[in-house]
């Protein structure tokens, strides 16, 4: 199936996922158009991480379908490399390579996975580090960077693969309140450039500001969704209301 930009770039239909006896996703469906920013919110353990990990094939699914730019992620013969060239992912714990400098972290995947020319990769990597406002930290090791700086390096590392979609899993949850903002600004810049983003977040203010669409998950299902204006003002489901009242 070839994908055209008028179709959803990501299409998730009735996805089921269990870990042993525990059913974590119980039929989740959502569509994301190119350039859209969507936020997934919901209580701990509701399956948010599992859902976005299914999108880039870190978790497999047991039922339903996921397509990303026409790539069928649920297919057992999935070409994982093709998928991962399209989808970048940023984790809560940054997960940088601790034995590589910030610059090397950013350069590694284009060199090893895309087998691109080194001089060109380095030029782009330096530009990306500049873009996430980390000039001067090129030769620092992750252990020498603050949490926020590490997370921005991780974002640059994902961007170096030139993905079409970025997944962010609670990327500010491990940060000090002061450094949260610098990471959010970086993500906002990306969104403004038209990057398709899926964010799992607890930052409601940020979600409200940045998201085109908000999904609320609870116990493996999407309970409610809508654009931020209606979602925050007129959430109708009692579970959503309770969650929002606790967090806002």
């Amino acid at each position: 199936m070839t994908w055209t930009p008028d179709q959803p770039i990501i299409s998730i239909k009735d996805v089921h996922k269990s870990f042993g006896d525990l059913e974590v996703l119980k039929g989740v469906s959502l569509d994301v158009m190119k350039g859209e920013v969507i936020c997934i919110i919901g209580p701990s353990g509701s399956g948010k991480s599992t859902l976005i990990r299914c999108i880039n094939g870190l978790n497999d699914v047991q039922g339903g379908s996921i397509t990303v730019e026409g790539i069928e992620v649920h297919d057992p013969d999935l070409d994982k490399l093709a998928l991962r060239k399209k989808v970048g992912m940023v984790f809560q714990q940054y997960n940088l390579f601790p034995h590589k400098t910030a610059l090397e972290n950013v350069m590694m995947a284009p060199l090893l996975v895309l087998k691109r020319d080194k001089a060109q990769v380095e030029e782009e990597a330096r530009a990306l580090i500049k873009k996430v406002r980390l000039e001067g930290k090129e030769n620092s090791y992750p252990g020498e960077l603050s949490g926020g700086q590490q997370q921005r390096t991780a974002i640059a590392r994902s961007l170096a693969m030139n993905p079409d979609v970025m997944l962010f899993d609670e990327v500010t949850a491990a940060l000090d309140p002061e450094t949260v903002k610098e990471v959010l600004v970086t993500i906002k810049d990306l969104a403004a450039e038209g990057m398709t983003c899926i964010l799992v977040t607890h930052e409601m203010g940020f979600a409200k500001e940045i998201a085109d669409h908000i999904y609320f998950t609870d116990r493996g299902v999407i309970v409610e969704h809508g654009p931020p204006s209606t979602f925050f003002e007129r959430a109708s489901d009692p579970r959503t209301r309770e969650f929002l009242s606790q967090i806002l």
Binding site: K85, G88, F91, Q93, N95, H99, A109, Y141, P142, G143
Partner: protein, 251 residues
């Protein structure tokens, strides 16, 4: 240097059990030197091969194939739980029988394609390699799953993840244990004596069989040489450890 030889000669006369013969007799002196050289070659070869075996074994242990994993486990169990000296004898006498022969350098006689030195290297490398697999595996397990996932999410293959991410981090964790095992390996090379590999212990024994008066001094020499060899190894390992240190990472 002549005064040392004289001193040794005089000492042998007044104290007949303390004949440092290799200090003044060029034949035994030559044996000691060639013994030391053989020991060094043996140790270096075994160090290199046992590390290669360790890395490959640890890699195979992470393989999706059950059969491969079981095979590596069997290998470890066998070499870890049986005496290395018996392994050496078995390799040399039993397996040595099965290997083909080639014409020796003299052009007349035949010799096995794998010499006793070859078997010593093979057997000792597999022995120390079994421990190295375990050591590297422990290091690999210390690498967080999330780090591996990050490289997977970037599109690295399993082999690339192992080579560029997991192994460099695992080695750093493994170095202290590796250090111990390699020190043991250097000392265990003396077992090659059992299959007549002309390493330092073998040469020493031939010397004190010919000159019983030289036995104690030669034993002393053995201690001194091994202390020096192990000292060099430990210094090298410590240097390596310092070079591998990552700013801001680990203790």
């Amino acid at each position: 240097m002549e005064w040392i030889a004289d001193l040794a000669r005089n000492l042998a006369e007044i104290a007949p059990r303390w004949n440092f013969i290799w200090l003044y007799d060029p034949v035994t002196g030559g044996k000691i030197l060639s013994g030391i050289w053989m020991t060094i070659k043996l140790a270096i070869a075994c160090l290199i091969f046992s590390m290669i075996i360790g890395v490959i074994g640890a890699w195979l242990q992470g393989s999706p194939s059950r059969i491969l994993r079981a095979f590596v486990n069997g290998y470890i169990q066998f070499f870890r739980n049986t005496p290395p000296f018996v392994q050496l004898l078995f390799f040399y006498f039993a397996l040595g029988q099965l290997t083909p022969v080639v014409t020796a350098p003299d052009g007349w006689t035949v010799q096995p394609i794998i010499t006793n030195v070859g078997w010593a290297i093979i057997s000792l490398s597999f022995f120390a390699g079994a421990f190295n697999v375990e050591i590297f595996r422990a290091g690999i397990e210390a690498v967080p799953e999330s780090t591996r996932e990050a490289s997977e999410a970037l599109g690295f293959t399993r082999t690339q993840t192992f080579r560029y991410i997991v192994m460099p981090l695992a080695i750093r964790v493994s170095l202290p244990a590796l250090n111990n095992n390699l020190v043991n390996l250097v000392k265990t090379t003396t077992q090659a004596f059992g299959i007549a590999v002309p390493e330092l212990l073998y040469q020493s024994v031939t010397i004190w069989n010919d000159y019983p008066s030289a036995q104690y001094p030669t034993m002393l020499l053995l201690f001194v040489v091994y202390i020096l060899l192990v000292g060099v190894l430990v210094m090298g390992m410590n240097k390596w450890e310092r070079q591998m240190k990552i700013p801001g990472y680990g203790a």
